[in-house]
């Protein structure tokens, strides 16, 4: 697992910030306003309550957040290119959501457990998943690319919102074990309409389990704008379940880090679930098979381009004199190297063998599967003596 230098240090000397008062009694402290610590222009905005939660972030760590966001954007664009070149079957770009995913992903401890959707590749990167493993499923070489227990992140979820229940159940297990880990569910605005997300909030509230729901409101569920999903702000829904919520500028990596730390801290101290709405924007298509020009206005994209998460952190670093040539060169070199390795990893990825079809359907021997595997294997072998070229 990657180093989690930005893990909250609740209970440790370096980190004594008090809970700023988000509680079940006072569930929506943010009053519907976005928590924002860096303006779109890159100006550091002072916010006494939330500043406390990022006061330990060093200049070096700010630079590492910049590097992470730059690298994951590069992985994302390389994967899109690989799809266009026929090396991947499909890819769901996360362009524009880097701050939401890096800010939250970097707040986690190694022993926390993430339940992501298919678009949360930035979070998976934070958990230490190899870039090549991020795309394995999108090349069609496996259903999922990584070992969930190695990185403490579940396999990506394509059924919308389903993983919110898995996170809640995992949190029931944490509670049962008496541990202070946290389960974190990532999903989008569309998922909040699904029954499973609503049922997850019912269970999480009833049992007061250590789970954090992070909804990246990227404004679009394929072609459906968020107003079709919800008549009110999505964060406001949580209070109906008795779950405190926060609404954060999802393009502000520092603000996302702060609110995620608050939510994790509550959960670790037995305070139960928290709901975070990270307001961001899907700059790209839903997947490489989608065409957003059919349903959304180019002006909207321009507006959001002006709020770009990487550009604003870059501006802040520049103001603080941190964006030295050396930092910039190092960051770009890292991104280039990761992209090169990703490309090589994809192109050299061996194809699975035909009989891998039958592997892992069950964890114990199963007579139906074994019979079908045997018959198909005989069928394949029936071509081995054939003189016809390319019979397979």
């Amino acid at each position: 697992m990657r180093s989690t230098v930005l893990t909250d240090k609740a209970g440790q000397d370096a980190y004594k910030a008090p809970n700023p008062g988000i509680s079940a009694e006072n569930p929506r402290r943010t009053g519907g306003n976005l928590v924002q610590l860096i303006s779109p222009e890159g100006e550091r905005i002072s916010h006494p309550e939330f500043d406390l939660w990022v006061s330990d972030v060093t200049d070096e760590q700010l630079c590492s957040l910049y590097e992470d966001m730059t690298v994951i954007r590069r992985i994302d664009s390389e994967a899109t290119a690989l799809q266009r070149q026929g090396e991947l079957a499909l890819w769901p770009p996360l362009l524009g959501q880097e701050a939401s995913q890096i800010g939250s992903g970097r707040a986690l401890r190694d022993d926390d457990f993430v339940f992501p959707s298919y678009r949360d590749n930035g979070v998976a990167y934070c958990r230490g998943v190899e870039p090549t493993d991020l795309v394995r499923a999108w090349r069609g070489n496996a259903s999922s690319g990584w070992d969930p227990y190695r990185h403490n992140i579940a396999t990506q979820q394509i059924i919308i919102g389903s993983q919110s229940l898995h996170a809640t159940g995992y949190a029931m297990g944490i509670q049962h074990d008496g541990a202070d880990s946290v389960a974190v569910a990532f999903f989008g605005d569309g998922a909040t309409s699904e029954g499973d997300v609503n049922e997850a909030m019912v269970f999480a509230a009833s049992f007061q389990v250590p789970v954090v729901f992070i909804c990246q409101n990227n404004h679009w569920a394929i072609s459906e704008p968020v107003r079709i999903q919800s008549h009110i702000q999505i964060a406001d829904r949580a209070s109906g379940f008795g779950i405190p919520s926060m609404r954060v500028d999802g393009n502000d990596v520092l603000a996302v880090l702060a609110v995620t730390r608050i939510a994790l801290d509550r959960a670790r101290k037995g305070g139960g679930p928290t709901f975070i709405e990270a307001v961001t924007y899907r700059m790209g298509p839903h997947t490489t098979a989608d065409d957003p020009t059919r349903y959304r206005d180019a002006n909207e994209l321009e507006d959001w381009a002006a709020k770009d998460p990487i550009a604003r952190l870059k501006a802040l670093l520049r103001t603080k004199g941190l964006l030295t040539e050396e930092v910039e060169a190092r960051t770009q070199a890292k991104a280039d190297e990761v992209a090169r390795n990703l490309r090589a990893g994809v192109i050299n990825m061996p194809d699975p063998a035909p009989l891998d079809l039958f592997n892992h359907v069950y964890s114990t021997p199963n007579s139906w599967i074994e019979r079908q595997k045997d018959h198909y294997s005989r069928y394949l072998e029936s071509f081995s003596g054939s003189t016809q070229e390319g019979a397979l």
Binding site: S144, L165, G169, Y170, G173, A183, D196, S367
Partner: protein
């Protein structure tokens, strides 16, 4: 040996699993203080606590979905779906998550989840309380599906299901809950008959009668009634519906040459179709006549005044046995 009702036998099996493995957790609606609407979990919350016998909110998808999360964390959840007809809200979690997680993760994440489903009719219930949805699940790879027919199997197989590293749907015939039978509570799981195996309930030589769950008792009655007419019926209790113990059914049909299958579930696309097709493929040359299915009709489960017309009973099954034997029967003279 002790004499237990079917429901008490499951209760005893659950208790044993809770005692033997601290990772076993029971979840469901009304399973705590009430002990379940059929009292199958009676007394377990009192003895094992609210964290191990969990009364959940009324959300079936969440009962199964949170069980997936618990399984991710190393637990062995045992979920109760209160009635067969209430399982559908959980369908997605069962077929997309529980069934496929092991495959989707290349075998890295196991789903040792048991889903108990009281099923079948015959108790005069209102709609949605008497269904037989097993074929939806036998059609889903990744699941094991079993159905128990007597207190001893109920006791043993619930423990086998819980101990299985694969997810198991455990179908309990609710109309048999009060039937009593001898149960050996000292039975050793490691030497018990595998839950993938069927059992010959009564040996015979003229017709093979295949069934499971609530109709095993009816089928045994059929065998006795038939013997009065000099017909020898071999009754097979499948026990496992996915996978089906086809080698055992095949061996029986090779001996008898005739096959009758009976279940409460609707006929089209049901288990009877699968058994008839598979046995025909496996030993066509041994069949003396076409396989016969005696099943529920292709209708929604009917209102209770008519349910006894819908459910296969002794006489309808005997009529099917006559058809398999080429004797006079209700369809004599009908083509096809």
């Amino acid at each position: 040996m002790s004499k237990l009702t079917f429901a008490r036998a499951i209760n005893a099996g659950l208790r044993k699993s809770l005692e033997n493995d601290p990772k076993v957790v029971l979840m469901g609606e009304d399973i705590g203080a009430l002990g379940g609407v059929f009292r199958v979990t009676d007394g377990l919350q009192k003895d094992f606590g609210k964290h191990r016998v969990v009364d959940t909110p009324l959300a079936e998808s969440a009962i199964i979905g949170t069980a997936v999360g618990l399984a991710y964390r190393g637990y062995r959840p045992v979920c109760e779906i209160q009635f067969d007809g209430f399982i559908y809200p959980a369908f997605d979690q069962i077929v997309s998550q529980v069934a496929k997680m092991h495959y989707r993760t290349q075998g890295r994440v196991k789903m040792p989840i048991t889903i108990r489903v009281p099923f079948g009719g015959g108790i005069g219930s209102p709609e949605h309380h008497s269904e037989s949805p097993e074929a939806y699940f036998t059609h889903t790879s990744g699941l094991r599906v079993i159905s128990v027919s007597n207190p001893q199997d109920a006791y043993t197989m619930i423990q086998q299901a819980i101990a299985s590293d694969d997810p198991v749907l455990y179908f309990e015939p609710k109309r048999r809950y009060h039937d009593k039978g001898e149960v050996d509570e000292t039975a050793d799981l490691s030497t018990a008959l595998s839950m993938e195996k069927s059992r010959v309930v009564s040996p015979g030589s003229d017709v093979t009668l295949v069934t499971y769950g609530p109709l095993v008792k009816t089928a045994s009655d059929v065998a006795m009634a038939a013997s009065d007419e000099g017909i020898s019926v071999e009754v097979i209790d499948l026990r496992s519906l996915a996978p089906i113990d086809f080698p055992a059914v095949e061996a029986s049909v090779r001996k008898t040459g005739r096959l009758v299958i009976t279940h409460e579930a609707a006929q089209s696309g049901g288990l009877g179709a699968e058994i008839a097709a598979s046995i025909t493929e496996r030993c066509f040359n041994y069949l003396e006549s076409a396989p016969v299915r005696i099943t529920g009709f292709d209708i929604p489960y009917p209102y209770s005044k008519l349910e006894m017309h819908h459910l296969p009973d002794l006489d309808r099954i005997l009529d099917g046995v006559d058809r398999a034997l080429g004797r006079g029967n209700s369809l004599s003279g009908l083509e096809g």
